[in-house]
């Protein structure tokens, strides 16, 4: 250990040590000469003999240098310097490779940064791998929620697999405490929620047991960002009263920065237990922390046997559903796994193509450098040293490419966070951090060695005599084989990525082009929540909505408005639980969607009414009426008119069908429409949470109406904020943002792969022509047809492209099925896409090979023969 230290200090001080050694030996020579003079040798002769006897000073210094330091490191640095000089001597080559490497290493690392933040990094809670999310699966779809009776039962029981369990419900409120009132998102959490998360408030405490009881003192926890917004991080926020929906709560704590579970939540309230006897059947979010040694599977077994042993305590519906237990990470980010993995595969293909290109360029250069290498070998350089020299050069090249790649990663990540798909870009920690840097260094090293090995090994094997004898430039057929294989692989990889990109692009076009059945381009929506205490009475709510809608309808730009309306039939439909009495044959258990809508809803969203009428201002009779869609009409009343029929929806009541509306696709999934029942909102009641939908006239920009909407609401109730003001067009855009992102990224990778492969093909053909210039000259001099030469070059140049294309098509047939989940109404083996990619690639390949081939055809025999 101390010896290594001594080595290191000696190595670091080697310049000084060298000087000292020189001085010391100079003194030695002086003494030696003096000794000889004392023996009677004349001074000049004595000096000469002393110098000769001491010998070659430089050699002593070199030997000592090897002793002081790390000779391998020194010679590595030497190799790097030499390599740098070599690279500077061929700027075009260097620029081409460095650009290729910058793009490929940069793209790979940027994608890694995203994948790292989303898939690899653990959630920011202690031992987060032990946190699981528990949900029920209905009709094959994961609801992401748990039925409340089972969840409550589990909280009260001791389940061996779980350390703690908690349920929560997301909520929202109009917050006012200090400054501007705003709509904030929050969560109601059960007693042991913070134990499951293992997160403690940064300030204050979590809820006390009495605060978790119905009728207990109202308490709230704030997020760090709400604390900063509303209180400027003042520590005396504790025990202050804040107002949420007109009710006042005492602040008992502030959570640490960055904690906003489940997603950017700003406050936490106690989830006061609901009595089991109330008979309601609700859904909640359910999380738990597994004990050491327990797994998701044992956790699920515990819950299943709990249900079985307590059958009598559970409503019938809770016994039927399937349970699913998965890690919280999987629940939150599992959906991104497949697309990111596919994108990563695509970018790895691009990286491989880039490497193959650089290897090709290096092989071409190695052929040019054979004389230099042979000379060095003849002068005594060992094979190992030469191979190492070449590897050092290629790694150096790789790092030259990686440095601008850093900037590329930085800027593309910044762009991603701003413009990327909302669900992904919001994930914290997408940045150029140490993990990404380490990954980049690893990839760069790996890439440098990978593309350097083939040229280096082939150079190390070379026979020094042959090139020195000048035989280097003549026919060189055998040597271009590895280059042709590389081009074949490049083209194949490019075909795979291009086909993937084209399939996604076609899906995106299809997705946009689909007829959703409604025309809502000129619709703007906003949501608002009426605080309970002030609007406890339905009449008060009704009065509020009537006043607001009257003001909005009076605006000149407004064509129609619906308040309260519902987007839920557009956005998502919960499957109707099986066994409900829908008027269908009792065996029928397919899901149907239910939504409550106010007057003018269909007109506002541009949904055609096929027969009957839409919901109007239903009278105070309360005799429920409803509009159903075509599918529902065909299902429930096959072969007869649905108008005037009675529809029995179990708990919801019985309704008279007053109209049949067109089928409408859901906004997010674009799935085939469900059978739908739109219950006309009862005039005697009004929801506390409502959506305002407004259709503007002609080609007015709906987004411009936002301030007027706010004014209309504030004019009725000055303390009432509105939230989520957005146009339907914007919602549609957001809903495809992740699809668009996948397509855009895959598309850029496809374009890059295509460009690199064509570049590689061109390079190989050009090299072939350059190598054989003399031969072509000779052929032409001997009377060969120039067209024959052209055909020869084209055939040789295009052979690897053709085999690559074939290989790529075959590989795509095997690989595109991985894309299936990302495609929309496009077959994984879409013939049009395959053909388009094949034709494009074939045409451009011919062009790429034709340029050098033309050069070969025009070879002047006189020049060619003289060029030796």
């Amino acid at each position: 250990m101390t010896r290594i230290l001594r080595h290191l200090t000696a190595w670091l001080r080697r310049g000084r040590l060298d000087d000292e050694l020189r001085d010391e030996m100079a003194q030695h020579v002086v003494w030696k000469a003096e000794g000889l003079m004392a023996e009677g040798v004349p001074e000049i002769e004595a000096r000469r003999r002393a110098a000769v006897e001491v010998g070659n000073l430089t050699r002593v210094r070199e030997e000592s240098r090897a002793i002081w330091g790390f000779p391998s490191v020194d010679s590595l640095i030497q190799d790097a310097r030499y390599g740098w000089r070599q690279l500077r001597r061929t700027p075009v080559f260097t620029l081409a490779t460095v650009t290729t490497l910058t793009l490929t290493i940069g793209a790979t690392s940027a994608l890694f940064a995203i994948a790292n933040a989303v898939l690899l990094r653990p959630l920011p809670y202690p031992r987060s791998d032990r946190i699981v999310s528990i949900s029920i699966v209905q009709q094959g779809t994961d609801t992401r929620l748990m039925d409340e009776p089972t969840a409550r039962l589990a909280l009260e029981s001791a389940l061996p697999s779980f350390e703690s369990l908690a349920l929560y419900n997301t909520t929202g409120a109009n917050f006012s405490g200090a400054g501007q009132p705003e709509v904030v998102a929050g969560v109601r959490v059960s007693l042991r929620f913070f134990e499951v998360m293992r997160v403690q408030p940064a300030l204050g405490r979590v809820f006390a047991p009495d605060e978790m009881q119905a009728g207990g003192p109202p308490a709230v926890l704030l997020s760090d960002s709400l604390w900063a917004r509303a209180f400027g991080r003042s520590p005396d926020v504790l025990n202050r009263e804040v107002t949420l929906d007109d009710r006042s709560y005492r602040v008992v704590g502030v959570m640490p920065p960055g904690f906003g579970f489940p997603a950017r939540r700003d406050f936490w309230l106690p989830l006061v237990p609901r009595s089991m006897a109330s008979g309601g059947f609700f859904y909640v979010s359910f999380v738990g922390r597994l004990r050491d040694g327990a797994s998701s599977a044992t956790g699920r077994d515990d819950l299943v046997s709990l249900r079985r042993s307590r059958v009598s305590a559970l409503p019938a519906r809770a016994r039927e559903s399937n349970l699913r237990v998965m890690t919280l990470h999987q629940r939150l980010y599992g959906d991104f796994r497949a697309p990111l993995a596919l994108l990563f595969g695509a970018v790895m293909c691009v990286l491989l193509i880039g490497c193959a290109n650089v290897a090709n360029l290096l092989l071409a250069r190695a052929a040019v450098r054979r004389q230099e290498l042979a000379l060095r070998m003849a002068l005594g350089a060992s094979h190992v040293r030469l191979v190492r020299q070449l590897l050092v050069e290629s790694v150096l090249l790789a790092f030259l490419g990686a440095v601008p790649g850093l900037a590329l990663v930085r800027y593309s990540l910044r762009a991603f966070v701003r413009f990327g798909p909302v669900e992904l870009a919001r994930i914290p920690g997408i940045a150029l951090d140490t993990h990404v840097l380490l990954f980049m260094v690893g990839v760069t090293l790996g890439v440098g060695l990978f593309f350097g090995v083939a040229p280096a090994v082939s150079a190390g094997r070379a026979d020094p005599q042959e090139p020195l004898k000048g035989a280097g430039r003549s026919s060189d057929g055998g040597r271009s084989r590895p280059r042709r294989i590389l081009v074949t692989l490049e083209v194949a990889a490019a075909v795979v990525v291009m086909i993937g990109a084209a399939l996604l692009a076609k899906s995106l076009v299809r997705f946009h082009a689909v007829d959703r059945g409604f025309h809502a381009d000129s619709v703007i929506t906003a949501s608002l929540t009426l605080p309970r205490p002030r609007y406890a009475e339905a009449a008060a709510r009704r009065a509020f909505f009537d006043a607001v809608i009257e003001r909005i309808r009076a605006l000149p730009a407004v064509e129609s408005a619906a308040v309260p309306s519902s987007l839920s039939h557009l956005v998502m439909t919960m499957p109707w639980p099986p066994g409900a009495k829908t008027g269908l044959p009792s065996s029928e258990s397919s899901p149907i969607g239910i939504a409550e809508v106010g007057s003018a809803n269909f007109r506002t969203f541009g949904i055609p009414i096929h027969s009957g009428r839409e919901c109007g201002d239903e009278g105070a009779t309360g005799a429920g009426s409803a509009v159903i869609n075509d599918r529902m009409a065909r299902r429930a009343f096959p072969g007869r008119s649905a108008l005037g029929q009675q529809l029995n929806l179990a708990a919801e009541g019985t309704f008279t069908v007053v109209g049949v509306a067109a089928d409408v696709r859901q906004l997010l999934s674009n799935d085939v429409p469900l059978p739908m029942v739109f219950i006309c909102a009862d005039r005697r009641d009004a929801p506390t949470h409502a959506l305002i939908a407004v259709r503007v006239r002609g080609d007015t920009d709906p987004a411009a109406l936002a301030p007027a909407l706010r004014e209309a609401v504030v004019a009725v109730d000055p303390s009432q904020p509105i939230a989520n003001v957005t146009t339907v067009r914007q919602m549609l855009d957001d809903s495809v943002s992740s699809r668009r992102f996948d397509t855009l990224l895959f598309g850029s990778f496809g374009a890059l792969a295509f460009a690199l492969a064509i570049f590689g093909l061109y390079g190989v053909t050009a090299y072939l022509v350059a190598q054989r210039t003399r031969e072509f000259g000779l052929r032409i001099a001997l009377g060969a047809d120039r067209a024959t030469v052209l055909r020869l070059v084209l055939r040789q140049g295009l052979a690897p492209a053709a085999s690559g294309l074939l290989l790529g098509l075959l590989a795509s047939v095997a690989l595109t099925r991985l894309l299936r989940t990302l495609l929309y109404e496009v077959d994984v083996l879409d013939a049009g896409v395959f053909a388009a990619v094949a034709v494009t690639l074939a045409l451009v390949s011919v062009l790429a090979a034709a340029v050098p081939a033309r050069r070969a055809m025009r070879v002047d025999p006189a020049v060619a023969l003289r060029c030796e």
């Binding site: 101390t2 010896r3 001594r6 080595h7 000696a10 040590l17 000292e20 050694l21 001085d23 010391e24 030996m25 003194q27 030695h28 002086v30 003494w31 030696k32 000794g35 000769v52 006897e53 001491v54 010998g55 070659n56 050699r59 002593v60 030997e63 000592s64 002793i67 002081w68």
Partner: protein, 113 residues
């Protein structure tokens, strides 16, 4: 590269380090002094080449067997003086005993009793 006369012996490999250590066990000395000492004590038989001596001194320093510092010679010239360290003393002891074994063994072979 010193001349090699018939009366001057080249050193056995590995013995130079031992000779340097032994010489330094007498006292602090500079490089020239070490060479001179070995030559005169061996009656001019052992010629220490400077080309080997100075690398050997560097090596012994790195190994921590000797230490050096700059000083002034009797005639006031700047020179680097070498001195044995504790580790060097121990190494010299080891080298001496194995050398004795070796010499005794060679002696038994060369002059059987």
């Amino acid at each position: 590269m010193g001349r090699k006369g018939s009366d001057k012996q080249n050193l056995l490999p590995g013995t130079l380090d031992m000779l340097v250590l032994k010489t330094l066990s007498i006292g602090v000395m500079h490089g020239y002094g070490i060479a001179q000492h070995i030559r005169s004590v061996s009656g001019g038989v052992l010629q220490v080449e400077e080309g080997s001596l100075y690398p050997a001194l560097q090596r012994l320093q790195i190994q921590g067997l000797i230490d050096s510092e700059w000083g002034h010679s009797a005639n006031n010239r700047r020179a680097r003086y070498y001195r044995l360290t504790r580790a060097g003393r121990r190494a010299l002891g080891d080298a001496e005993s194995s050398f004795d074994h070796l010499i005794a063994a060679i002696g038994r072979v060369m002059r059987p009793a």
